[in-house]
Symmetry: C2
Subunit: 144 residues, 2 copies
């Protein structure tokens, strides 16, 4: 136990060094401060699947409440994970897309998906989603 205490005390120590962080200097803790809830990564999943608009996000089967969706989009914009472009003036409508920072969440989402599919029977596999994405990309190529 003594060795473990030495190491974990050391880790506790280096995580505490920088006072600018809300909870600690741990990269996991800081990521969770942005993404750690039941909804944010579902909006990011939808963006990876090609959804762009408020109404498309709302059509997802989890039925995200409209106030939560608005708050999460705001938070993702201010964290520079997504950007938005106006596509209609009256009433104002925006199309959202992942920034590079957002695109770089792909490995995290993939790891979550693989684990979930492995341990929660009946969930949709990465293979099945990849087929969907491949079909989408093929159709987009055919249009061009």
């Amino acid at each position: 136990m003594q060795v473990i205490n030495f190491v974990t005390d050391w880790y506790n120590q280096i995580m505490k060094t920088d006072k600018k962080f809300k909870r600690s200097a741990c990269a996991v803790a800081n990521t969770l401060d942005i993404l750690g809830d039941k909804w944010t990564l579902l909006v990011i999943r939808d963006l990876f699947l090609g959804k762009k608009t408020y109404s498309e996000f709302q059509k997802s089967p989890e039925k995200i409440p409209t106030n939560i969706l608005a708050e999460r989009l705001k938070r993702l914009l201010s964290a520079d994970i997504i950007s938005k472009q106006s596509y209609q003036q009256n009433p104002p409508r925006y199309a959202y897309q992942l920034t590079q920072k957002g695109e770089d969440l792909a490995p995290l989402l993939k790891a979550m998906l693989i684990w979930g599919n492995q341990y929660i029977p009946g969930t949709i596999s990465l293979q099945r989603i990849e087929k969907i994405i491949a079909r989408r990309q093929a159709q987009q190529r055919n249009r061009q």
Copy 2:
């Protein structure tokens, strides 16, 4: 837009097929139902770092509130992500450890850590944590 709608409608459809799920059949949504909050993955991080007991978890710099820690340990036990062993009778004390299902969260935690360290300046890198873990393992080997 029509092609995207076709694909996302299809995805919406297959996610809705199985009624046994709380929100959808999406592996990400179901994983978030277990792990989607600001604290659960920090307890799992601590277990990966070698912490085992209630008081060790509480010493982490994020200062997890005691009622949240108790609730999260209960949830992780019932999800079979951790197991516990009694190490003291009066008062009862338990040592927690990751099950295989819990150990398999390593890629998820690693992806979170890499992203966080890349985009949140000042957070601790995976390399630094790996050094800590290597030192711990070396010390454990030396004890044997």
